[in-house]
Symmetry: C2
Subunit: 278 residues, 2 copies
């Protein structure tokens, strides 16, 4: 697959036919989405969890009717009629009682008439903007996985989803770059937006004692004078679902990390994702 | 003023003419709003603060154009053309450099062509629902001011608004009542929604060592076996603005506590206040 994918629908169809296995850098300008699929009776609680915690859990869209894998609302999120949430991600994960069971290329055999899917914003979007501004995230330069940490910021509870915390990702920058980095990512309000904390003092406030030891991903190299800058991270909702564990009766699905859905939302649409006209 | 006010517009006009000085219990069924008015150049940061922290800072509406005190968006928030944000609250407060200066009956002399007003959801709405369910908040029974505390939940920063924390209000309930109390208030997603923490363990998690010593309001009586239940509180945005202090050049206005605006939103509209159709 050396060819350049230009449209979101083209990328989705390649994923469906397993000709595209990693969506990083594909269909630039289009927002990519994380996935969470739950039995319908937990959908309202999970929806509330997203609305109450929009920075770590930014909701880009959801399936319109339980069991229907093709219709997404808002309709602008996926404009094509030819869509299937069970196949159009490159790779999926299956969970039972909060535990990872297996990875799959599609959900055709496991999806039921009772499943509801949620599409959640991912940080790929603002990383493109940082690169364009000459402030590339370290992990992209070193080809490592971004460092992620459990923070002490509580996830505000919603129904069965209690006791979770905000997961944060970290990118090193020099102190004099921070205001610019804040400004650039601020606009990406539906994909985590501006940082939640920064500097060594910020790390302490988040309860992170040792940035060398991330809870997920890989440690990041600091260059002379750099300090950590933390953003809310899209792994948060996935861990909230894992934390709910046995409270969820029935199978739960997610995307495989790094294997996102390319949506039809563009960065320019972001402002429209704000509450109605407020 | 012994007469019963039935419509929101009727209540607003009485406030305008200073014939109604306390909006508690007036125009039942209509959502009441807190006020924050800022110079236009800080409006975008404050708007982001609300969008990033919708549980403590739920945005019900805002003025549509800087300097125009009459047009609110979304239009459904205030349906009447005969509206003036400078007069239709019963009482206002004026702040300079984060400090309280004076209280006023209107803002006519101090409002400028550069001011933008924000209407923020208030807990009166869900308290009505708790009363209707036979679970009245203690402070209503004892005619005291609800107990409020600074919590360790950080307010996720937005532009000049950094370093704030979520203020919480507390109402005592018995442990076996908590699930019902959560359920009732959950629906009120645009007026703080369900509790953020509960029980003595919850108090500890919020960094509240002594519930007998609230930071604002009055201590609440606990009856045998009762535990504290905490909700995010509408005082939060006001304190975030106070914390910004000298970073804000120009006068800031708020409502006088307890002296809210009666909006045209009803409890039934709440679901529509969720992001577009997601």
């Amino acid at each position: 697959m050396g060819s350049i994918v230009t449209t979101a629908q083209e990328a989705r169809l390649l994923c469906r036919h397993n000709q595209l296995t990693n969506t990083a850098g594909r269909a630039p300008g289009y927002l990519q989405a994380n996935l969470l699929v739950l039995p319908a009776r937990y959908a309202s609680d999970f929806h509330n969890l997203c609305l109450r915690n929009p920075v770590p859990c930014p909701l880009l869209g959801m399936t319109a009717v339980p069991g229907n894998p093709s219709a997404i609302r808002p309709a602008k999120c996926i404009r094509s009629k030819d869509f299937d949430i069970r196949t159009d991600f490159p790779k999926y994960r299956v969970y039972s009682e909060g535990k990872y069971v297996e990875s799959r290329r599609d959900l055709l055999d496991v999806w039921t008439n009772d499943h509801v899917g949620f599409l959640i914003g991912c940080s790929f979007s603002f990383e493109d903007a940082l690169i364009a501004a000459g402030l590339p995230p370290r992990h992209q330069k070193t080809h490592t996985i971004v460092a992620m940490y459990r923070s002490t910021i509580p996830l505000l509870p919603a129904g069965i989803f209690t006791g979770g915390c905000c997961i944060v990702s970290m990118r090193p920058y020099r102190p004099e770059q921070i205001e610019r980095v804040r400004q650039i990512t601020r606009a990406y309000i539906s994909t985590h937006g501006e940082p939640v904390a920064w500097g060594w003092e910020g790390a302490k406030q988040l309860g992170i004692d040792d940035v060398e030891k991330p809870d997920f991903g890989e440690p990041q190299q600091f260059e002379e004078g750099e300090v950590p800058v933390f953003w809310a991270c899209g792994v948060t909702p996935q861990l909230a679902v894992e934390a709910a564990g046995k409270k969820i009766d029935g199978l739960v699905f997610s995307h495989e990390p790094g294997h996102m859905l390319v949506t039809d939302w563009t960065a320019e649409d972001l402002q429209k994702l704000q509450p109605e006209s407020v």
